[in-house]
């Protein structure tokens, strides 16, 4: 079996299995923990609205925090939006998702995807530099942060190399790209990348609890 067939076949298959198993394991392990009933008199019963509201509004900083968070937040926007464009806008990726889920939508011109890919890599590199140089981030960072960074940036770089045919034969580049995606999928449930799911749960939890109190979110 050649590398590409391995990547597209067993590697991808197992990565997806690990991804699904690990994600649900972690989510179930968190969500099925004890939940105490709240008997206090609610100020508002619109907790669902509070949850949805915070899920949306926490996407940007409150006005008062904007100045101090501008740089980090902007980097975050660039690579998050860049990743969305690359992952969900590039036609071969849509075809992959289609083959997996049956869902399909129109793709973006490849040139836009390449530019977003390049911007994403640039923003991720800047984010890493910031993580290494900012005292707060350096203090907080651990293996998970650096490894998650690596498994995030690798598929973007290998993907760009593959479309540019740089460094090796295309099928090798494609295989390496797919393998790097496998690594990303397999690691996602176990590290901080899990925030792709948890961000909704975490924001929603605070949004609901705080809406109940009428507290500030």
């Amino acid at each position: 079996m050649d590398l590409l067939s391995f990547a597209r076949g067993p590697a991808l298959q197992w990565a997806l299995v690990i991804f699904v198993l690990g994600s649900l394991w972690r989510l179930a392990g968190i969500l099925l923990l004890r939940r105490k009933p709240d008997y206090t008199e609610p100020r508002s019963r619109a907790t669902w609205r509070g949850a949805l509201k915070l899920i949306v509004t926490r996407t940007w900083s409150r006005r008062e925090f904007r100045a101090s968070t501008a740089f980090g937040q902007s980097l975050g926007y660039v690579f998050h939006i860049g990743l969305v464009v690359v992952v969900f806008g590039f036609v071969p990726h849509i075809l992959f998702i289609h083959s997996l889920t049956g869902l399909q939508w129109p793709g973006l011109p490849s040139s836009i995807v390449y530019v977003s890919g390049a911007l994403t890599v640039a923003a991720l590199v800047a984010a890493l530099v910031r993580r290494l140089s900012n005292p707060v981030l350096r203090l907080l960072s651990n293996f998970d942060d650096y490894f998650s960074w690596l498994v995030t940036v690798t598929p973007v770089i290998t993907g760009l190399l593959a479309v540019a045919h740089l460094g090796a034969r295309y099928e090798t580049l494609l295989a390496v790209h797919i393998l790097s995606v496998c690594l990303l999928l397999a690691w996602l449930p176990f590290g901080k990348l899990m925030h792709v799911f948890l961000v909704f749960i975490s924001r929603g939890t605070t949004g609901a609890l705080f809406a109940r109190k009428g507290a500030s979110t």
Partner: protein
Amino acid sequence: MNTQRDPTVLESFQQQGLSRRAFLKFCAATASLLALPAARAAELAEKLAGMPRPTVIYLSFQECTGCLESLTRSFQPTLESLIFNTISLAYNDTLQAAAGEAAEAAREDAMRKAWGKYVLIVDGAIPRPEDGAYCVIGGRSALDLLRHAAEGAAAVVAVGTCAAFGGIPYAAPNPTGAASVQDLVGDRPVINISGCPPIPEVITGTIVYFLGFGVPELDAQRRPTMFYGTTIHDRCYRRPFYDKGLFARSFDDEGARNGWCLYELGCKGPVTYNSCATMKWNDGTSFPIQSGHGCLGCSEPNFWDGGGFYRPLSSGLWHGGIGEGLGVAAVAGVAIGGAAAVAARQRQKRTTEAGKKPPEAP
């Protein structure tokens, strides 16, 4: 077909009533096809002019004769000019007039005479189990025939994907245990000319090159880089559509009519190394993508097991759905996660109970 007194290639041309200039022109055209520097055409002419026509043994095993069909449609050099002028085709069970015992005897005779010098062309895969019993010709297994013929060969040319990589006989579940030539011939130079079938000019061109200059530069799959150096995708005239993200989504939609990229329809051009996009077929008329169908990737190993010709390259490669496997993973994930949560709750409960018994910390 076998000549008595081993004329040189040039002499053979002249015997056919062709002049030296015709020979020079043949060499120039062949060199042009091979993309040789023009100066090397003269070198080729000089080499071929003085050398005796090499004996060629052409063995066919698990194959469909498609490769030979392709070969007969070579425009430059034509098969006629090749087998009448350039080589001495001592054995080919489809083209030769002789049959049965006589044919086998002729082959043995030719091989004995040119032992160590002849070129062996193999077409088709070779089944290995049961001493090769699944393919037997004239009472001898393909396995045995190949081993024996390869022993006396100067080089082995595997024509077609079956010979080069196992091809269709080798495809899962490979019921005959088919193997490729390079799997069986370890100690002789092997040149793979893959394709299902290969481009005819690639077959003839490689043979002529080999006669003039020996084994050409080969890629990792032992294919001549002069023909297999770039992907179909790299040289495809529809490439600009790929770059713009314009794809045909079915064979009769607007995109297909506009000649957009066929990636979504399963084209394997990006991972297929061959010259179809530049040399084309039928005397440069067209090639599959130009005719509106994606590349099948036939010149690559395992192309038959690539998950389907209409399955895009970026899709997963597995047989059947993965849904069941993921379903099991999902159920298992929830179950294990739930168990972990229950275990954690019990740890908490134990702590609470333990905390009640002993006196408070201070």
